[in-house]
């Protein structure tokens, strides 16, 4: 008998760079505000640069909207509401939304590449998640436009009026879709303010509205920083404000609207617990932890940023998590193999680094993967903390980055108590192979979206939104129509 003569040395075979091409479209050097169906410069002539966080290069110059621009936008939206949109049948409104959905699909690759360049997210995600979901949101809501009576049985349904919508930088185009699709489907007109670090896909979306022939002023887009958003919220011409962003800003908006009849919905921060029981499918749970906290660099309000793992499997889970994390590729967002892209901005990168420091100062133990990161741009390696206490800031506060806090528990009740011991209530996760336990835990977690044996799944038909300080109102599904209709 011959012994095996085959080499037993493992190969170091790996993946070569596989960049998505960005040569099939051209960004403009500068973009104006989208008011009343036309791109116009800011009244002040002011502009600001939007940069690629992966290489710190300027992508385009964008108009900086001031108070007067906001006023023009709201007036354009009001005019469109009074003269066109509120009078149009739901069926016709729906057809515009269908057109928009189709054009997003047609321009999908361009939108995905721009999204990754402007925001830093990996192309795999913008291509497979953000852009298809954005199109799906318009498709879904298009069909509601002429069926609203069935969504609210026993009521007569009408639009609210002009909606001011402010969206964050973590899912730029997807948030446009979440906000604009239900608003337009229900017969409202919109003034949208995208985040200052990621305005480009909202501006491309404005082009799409032109291409779709959407009546002038039904959708308006004003770019700018926080002050532009504040001016929008302050504007007396709004009937409705919808905001997605931090809890602090959400509270400030509620205060500033206190004396007005303006309706408000808020989708704010979170600090979700992802609970792993010993009887879970552990390997899939580990994958769920990865999706929970490292999806979109952890820039996700519903991220599973607190891992609660049952004591008996803690060692196994942590060991497997480490091994899995070492395979996460951090780097060029446009590379098709990149798992974790660039942190969205310098400010956010510094904020996360600060939390990494705070966590260690509080006595927690930091683990970071060994992967290489590029020299230019803003990067954080996938990270987690062990030996954390419920009182630590890294457990209590939303970090909004690829940083996980790991705690263990013994009993189901202890897990629930820890999961709910937070002012937030946006999302939660539970992993167990036992059906009855799933329902006990999903009922017990005080949060608006619960993922059982999965995490970070989204769908236009699925309502999304929080309990407690994670905000109020829902986006998506039949429930997501409620914030955009007047019932009588």
């Amino acid at each position: 008998m011959t012994e095996s003569k085959i080499s037993s040395k493992g190969s170091d075979w790996g993946y070569a760079p596989a960049p998505e091409s960005a040569d099939h479209f051209k960004l403009k050097e500068q973009y104006g505000l989208f008011l009343g169906g036309k791109f116009v410069p800011a009244g002040s002539g002011k502009r600001f640069a939007t940069i690629n966080p992966a290489n710190e290069k300027t992508l385009a110059q964008v108009a900086d909207a001031g108070e007067k621009d906001v006023d023009r936008a709201v007036k354009a939206a009001r005019l469109a509401y009074d003269k066109v949109w509120r009078k149009m049948s739901g069926r016709e409104r729906g057809k515009y939304l269908y057109r928009i959905a189709r054009i997003i699909q047609e321009r999908a690759r361009e939108l995905a590449v721009v999204e990754s360049m402007d925001g830093g997210k990996p192309i795999r995600e913008s291509r497979d998640v953000d852009i298809p979901l954005a199109a799906a949101h318009f498709f879904y809501h298009a069909g509601w436009a002429d069926k609203l009576g069935y969504a609210f049985p026993g009521k007569s349904v009408g639009p609210i009026g002009v909606a001011g919508q402010i969206i964050p930088w973590n899912f730029p185009l997807l948030m446009v879709a979440w906000k604009v699709a239900p608003a337009l489907a229900c017969g409202n007109t919109v003034v949208l303010k995208p985040a200052e670090t990621t305005p480009l896909t909202a501006l491309l979306f404005s082009e799409i509205c032109q291409e779709a022939g959407l009546p002038d002023g039904v959708f308006n887009c004003i770019t700018g920083a926080g002050s532009t958003g504040a001016a929008l919220v302050r504007h007396p011409g709004l009937d409705k404000v919808a905001f997605t962003g931090s809890t602090d800003v959400g509270k400030a908006i509620q205060k500033s609207l206190a004396g007005k009849a303006t309706k408000l919905t808020l989708e704010l921060g979170g600090k979700a617990a992802n609970i792993i029981f010993e009887d879970a499918a552990i390997d899939q749970a580990v994958e769920g932890i990865i999706n929970g906290i490292f999806f979109n660099q952890g820039h996700v309000c519903c991220a599973g940023s607190r891992l609660l793992v049952q004591e008996s499997v803690e060692e196994e889970v942590v060991e497997k998590l480490k091994a899995r994390m070492e395979h996460l590729i951090v780097g060029d967002p446009l590379d098709k193999n990149t798992d974790i892209g660039a942190i969205n901005s310098k400010a956010q990168c510094e904020r996360i680094q600060d939390y990494l420091k705070v966590g260690q100062e509080e006595g927690a133990e930091l683990f970071q993967t060994k992967c290489a990161v590029p020299d230019k741009g803003y990067w954080i390696r996938p990270s987690f903390f062990t030996k954390v206490a419920q009182s630590h800031r890294i457990v209590q506060e939303e970090i909004f980055g690829p940083v996980l806090a790991i705690q263990s528990f013994r009993t189901l009740n202890e897990a629930l108590e820890k999961a709910n011991n937070t002012p937030y209530g946006l999302s939660g996760g539970v992993w167990t192979d036992k059906g009855a336990k799933i329902f006990k835990v999903t009922r017990g977690i005080k949060a608006g979206v619960i993922w059982a044996n999965t995490f970070n799944k989204f769908d236009p038909a699925s309502p999304f939104g929080g309990y407690k300080e994670s905000g109020y109102g829902r986006e998506g599904g039949r429930h997501g129509l409620r914030p955009y209709v007047e019932l009588s």
Partner: protein, 305 residues
């Protein structure tokens, strides 16, 4: 106590639930890895070096086996930069012919045994089948588990057979075929993997190639995860062999990606990872030629065996 009860008591069959949807999503995510240019060439060569080139037809002839062995050594005429495959896989009566044809090469001869593919024979016959193949010179034995016993829940008997076949193998390496297409669920694939590894398998193998579905990526992933857990608990590296239904070069590269990310580079070697195939190498060769020449290839330029 019957031998099978003794064996059963030695097994440590912890529950390892598998979530089918989670597995599918992981497979889909792994499949988004983009393998281009140098990485693709290197990967395809690596995959070719891992192939168990197989012929398992009732109509196999000594001549066909010899041709297969020639192909195993020289995958494509005119290319000197290609590896030899890892092994050829034949029926026991063809082992001697293959050994002779492969003399002087490192290529291993694997024989299917234990009443392949059904396993529907008494244990004594299966053991005799094994001993015969080993005596004929097989370096490796690919056995099938008794699916009937397994599905009936008689895990002790399944394990006991593996233990005894392993004994009959002597120094020959044992690959245990689970025939996942007959097991029905991923949970059972996991359980069968655990039984096989604990009973002495050197490799676990998905399929005979006679039943569909065979080596689906989902099944491969579940088996790789089982191997990973076994290694974590015992320090023993068990090999993996997907076989059957691996249609093209892309699927082969996806297997390498899976092995790399689930088990790590240590498993990227023919001594721990094999791909059972008969037609697959030609598609990989066509891809390699396309990378070299820049021109898409046609099947008429590649020998079928």
């Amino acid at each position: 106590m019957s031998p099978s009860t003794v064996t059963l008591n030695k097994l440590n069959l912890q529950a390892h639930p598998v979530d089918e949807v989670g597995i599918r999503e992981r497979v889909a995510r792994l499949a988004t890895r983009s393998i281009k240019k140098a990485s693709k060439v290197e990967g395809l060569k690596l995959a070719l070096s891992m192939v168990d080139l197989t012929t398992l037809e009732g109509a196999d002839t000594p001549g066909k086996v010899r041709q297969l062995c020639t192909k195993a050594i020289h995958l494509h005429s005119g290319r000197k930069d290609l590896p030899m495959v890892a092994a050829v896989c034949v029926y026991p009566t063809m082992v001697r012919i293959a050994r002779k044809a492969l003399e002087g090469t490192p290529i291993q001869v694997a024989a299917v045994a234990t009443a392949f593919p059904s396993g529907m024979n008494p244990l004594a016959v299966k053991l005799e089948d094994t001993r015969y193949a080993v005596a004929e010179g097989a370096h490796e034995i690919d056995m099938v588990i008794s699916r009937g016993d397994f599905l009936r829940g008689d895990y002790g008997r399944v394990a006991d057979e593996i233990v005894q076949v392993k004994e009959a193998c002597g120094k020959a390496h044992l690959k245990v075929i689970l025939e996942t297409g007959e097991l029905g669920t991923l949970d059972r694939v996991r359980l069968a993997s655990d039984i096989a590894m604990q009973s002495g398998a050197d490799f676990i193998k998905t399929s005979t190639g006679k039943i569909q579905p065979a080596a689906t990526p989902e099944v491969v992933l579940v088996m790789l995860l089982a191997i990973s857990d076994f290694y974590r608990k015992t320090g023993k590296k068990i090999g993996m062999k997907p076989a059957g239904g691996i249609a093209n070069a892309k699927a082969a590269l996806n297997l390498l990606i899976m092995v790399r990310e689930v088990l790590g580079p240590a498993w990227l070697t023919p001594s721990l990872f094999r791909i059972g195939a008969s037609k697959l190498p030609n598609d990989m060769l066509m891809q390699l030629e396309k990378e070299r020449t820049g021109v898409y290839q046609g099947p008429d330029y590649y020998s079928n065996d």
